[in-house]
C-alpha cells in the first residue's frame, strides 16, 4: 500500500517463476506510440495477472484504444516491450490468435446471417486449437444461452436491437474460449438498461471462466462495477492504478461530511473525517442533525486527477495518486 513518489511509474516486476500460472498474462514495459510528431503513448507499463479484470480508464484521446490495439496485435508499437500470453503481439501467430478474444463493435457486418449460423461458422475456426484445459470452441447453443440470445438464435442479425447485437459481439469475442479477452469501450452509446445488462453478462463470464479481461472505458461507473484494478491513463501515461477503493483513498480530501444545524445544510470535505466529526460535536453537540459521512467517489477522484493533470501538473497528480501497489 506504499504511496510512490513521482518517478517512473512501473509496477515492481513480479517474481519470475517456472510455473506458467504465475507469469503475467499481459506484461507491458515502457510502451510508446508516436504518430508523426505526436506521442500518443508515452511510456506505459503495467501487468495483468491470470483471471484479473483490468480497466483502462481515461478521457477521450488518452491513448486507451491505441494501447489495446497494440496488445491485440492490430497495431505496431513505436517502442517498448509487450508480452501477451508470453508472446509479442506484433509477431503473434494464428495459434496465439486462437487464445485471445476481441469484442469488436459490430456495425452492419453479416446483417443477413442468422445468429446461430455466424457463431457456428466462426467457432469452427477454433476447433483445431482445442486442448484438454480449454475445449474450443464454445458449444454454440450453450454460448447463445449464456449471452441471453436463445430466443433470437434464428433471427437475422440486422433484426437484433442494439443491446442484443452487442451481446452477440461478446459471444463472437468469446466463441473460442479465450484465455484473454479485450473489450474496447464496450458500452459506448448504450442506454442505462442495456448497460446494466452488459455488466451482468461480464459478471457471469468472470464467474464462470478463468479468463483475464482487459477493457477500456471512459465511464467511471463501469470501471468501478467491473474492474478488479483500474489503470488511469491520461496524456499517454498511466497516472494512477489500483482498485476503485484504493484510488479514492488517495484523494487529499478522503471524505465528505454533511450535516444540518438550525435548519441549515452544511457540506465539508475532510481528509480526516473522524477528527472533523468529533470536533463538530465538541463545538455544537446535540444541535448537529442529519450527519452523513461518505467516502469520496471514484468520480471525484478521477475528476480531480484529470483536472490536475490537464492543468499541466502531471507530477503533482502522480504524487497525490501514485501507484497503489498491492
Amino acid at each position: 500500500m506504499a504511496l510512490k513518489e513521482a518517478g517512473p511509474l512501473s509496477e515492481p516486476g513480479l517474481p519470475r517463476s517456472a510455473d506458467p500460472d504465475d507469469e503475467p498474462v499481459i506484461d507491458v514495459r515502457d510502451l510508446r506510440m508516436r504518430y508523426g510528431k505526436t506521442d500518443v503513448l508515452n511510456g506505459v507499463s503495467f501487468t495483468a495477472r491470470r483471471g484479473e479484470v483490468l480497466t483502462l480508464l481515461g478521457p477521450n484521446g488518452a491513448g486507451k484504444t491505441t494501447a489495446i490495439e497494440i496488445l491485440e496485435g492490430f497495431r505496431i508499437r513505436s517502442a517498448g516491450q509487450v508480452s501477451v500470453l508470453g508472446v509479442d503481439p506484433a509477431h503473434g501467430g494464428e495459434a496465439w490468435r486462437a487464445r485471445i478474444g476481441v469484442v469488436l463493435q459490430s456495425w452492419r457486418d453479416h446483417g443477413k446471417w442468422r445468429v446461430r449460423e455466424l457463431l457456428a461458422n466462426l467457432g469452427s475456426y477454433y476447433a483445431p486449437y482445442s486442448s484438454p484445459e480449454a475445449s474450443r470452441p464454445w458449444d454454440t447453443d450453450e454460448l447463445i444461452a449464456l449471452v441471453g440470445l436463445a430466443e433470437h438464435a434464428h433471427k437475422r442479425i440486422r433484426q437484433l436491437s442494439g443491446g442484443q447485437r452487442r451481446r452477440l459481439d461478446v459471444a463472437v469475442g468469446i466463441v473460442g474460449r479465450p484465455e484473454l479477452l479485450f473489450l474496447d469501450e464496450p458500452t459506448a452509446g448504450f442506454d442505462p438498461a442495456a448497460r446494466r445488462e452488459f455488466h451482468d453478462l461480464v459478471h457471469r463470464l468472470t464467474d464462470r471462466e478463468e479468463a483475464t479481461i482487459l477493457l477500456t472505458t471512459h465511464d467511471l461507473d463501469e470501471a468501478e462495477k467491473l474492474a478488479d484494478r483500474i489503470l488511469i491513463l491520461a496524456g499517454g501515461a498511466i497516472i494512477a492504478a489500483g482498485s476503485a477503493d484504493e484510488l479514492a483513498r488517495r484523494m487529499p480530501a478522503a471524505a465528505e461530511v454533511r450535516w444540518s444545524r438550525d435548519g441549515q445544510r452544511f457540506v465539508h470535505s475532510a481528509g480526516d473525517p473522524a477528527g472533523f466529526v468529533s470536533e463538530l460535536f465538541r463545538q455544537y453537540g446535540g444541535s448537529v442533525e442529519d450527519l452523513e459521512v461518505s467516502r469520496v467517489s471514484l468520480e471525484d477522484t478521477y475528476m480531480a486527477l484529470v483536472r490536475q493533470f490537464e492543468s499541466g501538473d502531471g507530477q503533482g497528480a502522480e504524487r497525490n495518486f501514485g501507484m497503489v501497489t498491492s
Binding site: 469488436l104 456495425w107 443477413k112 477454433y126
Partner: protein, 299 residues
Amino acid sequence: MTDGAGVIGVGPVRGRAIRAAVRAGFNHGWIELSHCFTMVEDAFEILPLPLVSVVILLAVDSKNDHLPGTHFLISSTILVGMLVMNVAFNGMIGLGMRLTAEREDGTLLRAKATPNGMLGYLIGRIVVVSGTIMLTVVSLLIVGLAPFGGLALGRAMTWLTLTWVLALALLAILPIGAVLGSLFPSVRSATVLMLGSFGLIGISGIFYPITHLPTWLQWVGQAFPLYWLGLGVRSAVLPGNLAAVEIGHSWRHLATAGVLGAWAIAGLVLAPILLRRAARRVSGSSVAARRERAMTRGI
C-alpha cells in the same frame, strides 16, 4: 503453453487449423450464396442482368439481323456481351466494392481477429463471386439455348472451351478485383471504377467488333483480359466460320490462354501482398472512424 507459436502451434495442429479455415470459408461462401435464393433483395442483385438480356434478345431476335457491315448476328453478340459484362462486373467491380465495403463495416476486422480468419474470408468471397457468376452464366446460356439462331450450344467443344476460358478469366479477373478493393479508400471512391470499366468494355470489342476501332486502340484493348474473355466466349458459342471477322481471322486460343494466364499470375502474386497491406491497416478505431463518417453522410 507459454509460447503461442509453441506447443499447440506446430505440426498437425497447423495443418488441421488450415483445413478448418478452408472448410469454414466454403461454409461462409455457401451461406452467403444461399441468401440469393432465400432473400428477395439478394435475388434482385443478380437477376436483372439475365432478365434484361432475355428481353433484349427477344426484342432483336425476330429481325435476325446482322450488325451493320459485319457477319455478327445481333442477338448472339448481345448474349456474348452480356456474359462477358457479367463476369467482368461481378469479378472486378463486385468483388472490389465488396472488399472495400467490408473493410469499412468490420467484416475484415472480424476475420483478422479469428485464427486463420483471413484465409477463410477470402475463400468465402471467392466462392460467392464465382458462384454468382456461374449462376448468371448458366441462366444466360439457358436463354441462349432457345433457338435464337447463331449459337452453337450443341457441341461438346463449346462447353469444354467455355469451361477453360471462364476458369482462366476468373483467375485473371478476381485478383484485379481484390487489388482494386484493397486500393480504394472507401466505397464512394470505388464508383470511379464503374466509369473505368465501361470505358474498358467499350474498347474490348464486347458489343461491337474490335476490328472497327483504330489500330492503336485495338492494341490497348488487347492488353486487358476482357477482350480475351470475350474472344474466348465467342469462340465457344459462335459457329466456327465467324472467326473470320476477328483479328487475324482466328480465335487465337493460344494467345487467349497466354494473356489471361499472364494476368492471372501477376494478380495472384500481387493480390495477397496488397490485401495483407490493406488488412494490416484495419483496426477497431479505423472501423469506428469510418462508421462515424458514413453516419454523418447519412448512409
